[in-house]
Amino acid sequence: MPPMDRLLLKNRAAIPFDDLPKISYQALGDIAVGCLCAALRPVALFGVPEERHAESVRIVALFADDAQGTLAVTSVSAQRGATVPSLTPSIPAFHLFERQLWEEFGIVPEGHPWLKPVRYPHDGHPPRRIEEGYRYFAMKGEESHEVAVGPVHAGVIEPGHFRFLCDGERVNHLEIQLGYQHRGVERLFREGPLAAKSTLAESVSGDAAVAHATAYAGLVEALGDTVIPRRASVIRAIGLELERAGIHLGDLSALCNDIGYLPGTQLFAVMRTDIINTSLVLCGSRFGRGLLTPGGVNYDIDEKKKERIIATVRRIRDNAGLLAASIFDNQSVLARFEKTGSVDTATARAVGLVGPAGRASGLTCDIRLTHPTDAYADHPFMKTILQNGEGKAAVSGDVYARAFVRHQEIQDSLRYILELLERLDAARDGIIAPVAPPRPDMIAFSLTEGWRGETLHAAVTGGDGGTRRYYIKDASFHNWFGLALAVRDNGVSDFPLCNKSFNLSYCGFDL
């Protein structure tokens, strides 16, 4: 008999909000224990204000069972300002989610090791001005000192504050304070018809526009029970994989730049230009903007486009492979990549790393494989496990592993695009289907594997079909803490290298 304390769902499922099991916070802790033996993975924990009782908040918890390909969802009722037992001491991956519940609704997780603001939102309870009165974690000692960076950084980068606690050159801890990018995204999703928010979804994190647009469109379709044409699902997947390959190429370029390996810097960068210009050929935007809409896609791939995409993808696949081969057996490159910024598998699992960063630390998480939808379900995405020169897959959790995983994923994505293009001829069922309006009083979840990793969009509709709660979780929400752990015991000057190997989103976190 299935357990009564949770509902098992598939990715992109919508259920009546009232069907959510209501359990106690202690019982939630019992479910969460499943995360300790890796049977479950925490995906999200977020509050939904109750419709009729302004003081009540329903806390929705979502877990993934990657082996079974299911999601487990449950909920707890709490009052604003209530005190609940913290899950974080046993399952550290919840630390940010509990901080967010505290910041948004004043729900205090008792026993949380470090309760502090997440992003200083405009509608927090109580409202706080950014960093006002906040005391950073401090350390005393003869050689200890602090390095403060940001919010405005030296390059063309999004803002965030980094506080390094150093012992000479060695980093003891890095405290990351975000929130500077907070612009009220979730609130804007709630205003007006949900089906008209494609451009907003693309702007959650503009470098992962297709990933967020895919998660958003999948959510709207789940809420309206809309089935999209197969051709549209294939084109969406091509857009998503182009985005992934483009960003990974750009990041390999930046990693080479950070170690002063200039051939890699320039050549990977021009390959990225080729790939994102192919996105422009596909849909008019180098970032894949405008490609997706709820119900399908706005732009078809005709024979001429198809030929152009195939030619570019084949050329970049070969050239990137050749260049990567000459980088990953270069001693001066490896000397800088290897054993820099390591996160071991146990730590990665404990803090809940996702995406390429998680995979580089030996986790198997990948929504395309474990919770596939649309094209990924019709035409399974297969991974080639590329071996490095020593015949090992890269799972060492260091900069080398994260770079090598990117190289693998470029090859896999480009190969998958060629496979999808072959299937395009057989899928001639149009590119767009009419979208039914969201059903009232539902809750839905939509997971997509973006290039950074797991991207979640979730929504609760009201009695009038309006949007009562819109919740977004970018992969960065899990992974920023991974970066803080990765730089421990490294030289402070290796921070740019570690940072680029993760390349996390500020705006996707701050919302």
Binding site: P121, A154, Q181, R183, A269, V270, G290, N298, L322, Y506
Partner: protein, 254 residues
């Protein structure tokens, strides 16, 4: 090993855009909107415009709010066509409004050049300090791309620097969140005069999609008048390079 690297290098040839002032993006690129004098946008088109850039009375698109998403142009019987003309930079806010029947040439002719002092001081060397103020990282990546091997804005003496102390201009991306308002003001104050203020992207120019959000604080623009507006979402690197060159009186690149 080194031969493999040389082979990888050889295969790429030269990727630099030979002349960024005359290069055109692919015909698929969504740029300057051509609005026919006949026909009016439907209520559906107005409702679907994410930045509220499209208006009926008069029939016009405000490029300071437009995300060039193409939804109006894709609608049935639309009087709007998005061309791939990409030299969209302007020097006055009201010049960004494209009314029905406005040709690209008329639009482009509105863009003014910087005053003599600015062109004398910065004509051959302009250093930009970037401030991302709640930008979604698309504008930031396109601004970075202006210095890559393809677009190579450095060939004109235009570069991005790491400190406001080294800068001649502050280029702002993003709608300016309340949490970034102080940092933007501080960066501006730390930049020595004379200095230019450049706004890149619909969010920076008007707040864009986020214009109605209570999480923004755009008071900075009440006190400081922008010199260059670069519309788009995000603007193409060629749009950025050409907007700056035009302002410096170097529209032919010379």
């Amino acid at each position: 090993m080194v031969f493999r690297l040389l082979r990888a290098r050889w295969r790429h040839g030269s990727q630099a855009v030979p002349d960024p002032t005359t290069a055109m993006p692919d015909p698929m690129f969504r740029g300057f909107p051509d609005i026919a004098k006949e026909g009016a946008p439907s209520a559906e088109m107005i409702a679907a415009c994410p930045g509220a850039a499209l208006t009926v009375n008069p029939v016009a698109i405000d490029l300071g709010k437009c995300h060039l998403c193409g939804s109006c142009a894709r609608a049935a019987n639309s009087p709007i066509r998005l061309t791939n003309r990409h030299h969209l930079g302007q020097t006055r806010r009201d010049a960004l409004i494209v009314t029905a029947g406005t040709s690209f040439e008329e639009y482009h002719a509105r863009a003014e050049k910087g005053r003599d002092e600015i062109r004398r001081l910065f004509g051959r060397s302009l250093k930009l300090r970037s401030v991302s103020a709640a930008g979604c990282n698309a504008c930031e990546m396109e601004l970075n791309a202006t210095t890559n091997a393809n677009f190579d804005m450095l060939r004109y003496g235009i570069d991005i620097v790491a400190s406001p102390r080294h800068a001649d201009a502050v280029i702002v991306t993003g709608p300016v969140s309340a949490n970034m308002a102080d940092a933007l003001e501080d960066t501006w104050n730390a930049t020595p005069a004379p200095k230019l203020l450049v706004l890149m992207g619909a969010c920076a120019i008007s707040g864009g999609l986020f214009a109605a959000s209570p999480a923004l604080d755009r008071r900075f623009f009440k006190d400081h008048a922008p010199d260059i507006y670069i519309p788009g979402c995000p603007p193409h690197p060629l749009t950025v390079v050409n907007a700056i060159l035009h302002y410096l009186g170097r529209e032919n690149g010379r």
